[in-house]
Symmetry: C3
């Protein structure tokens, strides 16, 4: 029996992973958009409802990640390498955790002002999460490989842009900010945002691995 036929017969079994990854990608993308609204606002630390909503999305993402891991334990057949499923779920979870951490730090630290490039860096994260969503939606159908590949290339470009913005931000912050406590607050929020974009690149790396193995 051809491998393709076995695959098709068993599809319902392996099929359950796709909707979970798709839901996870939607949650991440949604959270990144809400974060951008928070950062954009005149008084970010007063956007308590939005920050609470991000926390709720993060809880939902946690639940999905647990369900992915449970499904992995109970499945004989998986649509791609078990290890890659584990890693994709974990790294997507990391992206969500860091979007949430950025929001929580804004609430906790109550910075008097956010550095001007904070929104710029947040928008890079938003665009990265959007590319994750696009790529994850194509996982069901690895035939359409170029879409996933294009998304990964865009994420790499975004990561380079993020690095440049981050370095400029930190360098600027240390030259203009004379209030040490405001500097501490802004530096930490910037670092968490930049760490978020690094985690988005980790997701892209796993997607590339899945693409190569599925070739």
């Amino acid at each position: 029996m051809a491998k393709g036929m076995i695959r098709r017969l068993l599809l319902p079994q392996e099929d359950k992973f796709y909707p979970m990854f798709e839901d996870l990608a939607e949650l991440i993308s949604k959270a990144s958009h809400i974060l951008a609204q928070v950062v954009e606002s005149a008084e970010p630390c007063k956007k308590e409802d939005s920050i609470r909503e991000i926390k709720l999305l993060e809880n939902k993402a946690d639940d999905i990640v647990h369900r992915v891991m449970d499904a992995l334990d109970s499945s004989f057949i998986t649509p791609f390498d078990r290890e890659d499923i584990h890693r994709l779920a974990s790294r997507m979870d990391d992206v969500m955790d860091n979007i949430n951490a950025t929001a929580q730090q804004i609430l906790l630290y109550r910075p008097g002002r956010l550095a001007p490039q904070t929104l710029e860096l947040t928008m890079v994260a938003v665009r990265g999460c959007e590319q994750i969503r696009i790529a994850v939606m194509e996982l069901r159908n690895l035939q359409n490989r170029s879409k996933i590949n294009d998304a990964c290339i865009k994420i790499n470009e975004l990561e380079n842009i993020a690095d440049d913005i981050f370095h400029k931000m930190i360098s600027d912050l240390f030259s203009y900010e004379k209030d040490a406590i405001e500097l501490i607050k802004n530096k930490k929020i910037m670092e968490t945002l930049e760490y978020t974009t690094d985690r988005i690149e980790d997701v892209s790396d796993i997607l590339k691995t899945i693409l190569i193995k599925g070739a």
Copy 2:
């Protein structure tokens, strides 16, 4: 020959792991109590003898962890999964390292004052270490599963309490502390303490895994 009989015949071989884990749990619990005495004192950074004692306990714990790893390399039969033994020892070591790091930071940074909730958070760590000790003492006898399970539930509850205290601490610190250097000192000490409670939860997660696999 039944699996149970093989186990019993080989017990002396696998038995050596339990006393090492028990010693490790005792050392961690002891170190956490000494840390609480340091934090409680009027001038924590003057408790140099206590801080040195914590360092000695950490060295002893390192020795035990090395002995666990050596025993793992030379044992055919282990009382539970090799990987879980490795992880339990490593994560218990992490708890100890972070208790010690908190103490060393108090000595190095010499904070003028510790934030009022520092003792509260330390006591959560003390109670978590006590639950680790209780659970580890029951490992020899997995029949008494409910005691380990109860300890893990308590550690989870403690971790939630720790999170709440930590968030309140950081938020308070940024609103009352106008001396940036004192803020840096206290923020770092709080973060290390909070990181310690996270590591305690990691130990609990492994204990739960061991419990499930041994079911």
Copy 3:
């Protein structure tokens, strides 16, 4: 057929790993020397050319690490455990990343002055990288085990020296530095340097493992 003979027959295949590790060790050692020149200068943040050169060396090291990983994927026979090759390359990469991070932080933060012991700690890193180079050059010829062993012992001694310098630096910094922003800059640079020496010790640990397994 004796194991030794099989080894000799297959040598060309496994042989390709040695030059890559040797190149990596040379790059790390070179980068550490340039970092020392930066730190030593009267105005470190003006040594932009040197800092850029360190970045270029880091890029070259990245390329080699990727080539090691590719070679690992396509090789049946490896000169030592696949996992240890992977770890040795990754940990050497970490050393390079942290030398580069230290240099970049000097450029970004533009500290008004570097703490006096910064050069001292940098020189410990330089000597550690030199010992890595010595040990890696001997990997081809595991017969000469004592040279690798001696290098690992020296790295351990250096790590203890680094710890002492670092603790003294941090303690001094908090007692003399009254400018919070200068304190933040220097503290972060010191921490990255100290983290670099920790990563050097990680390399030494893997070299010891390779030595033991090859016994």
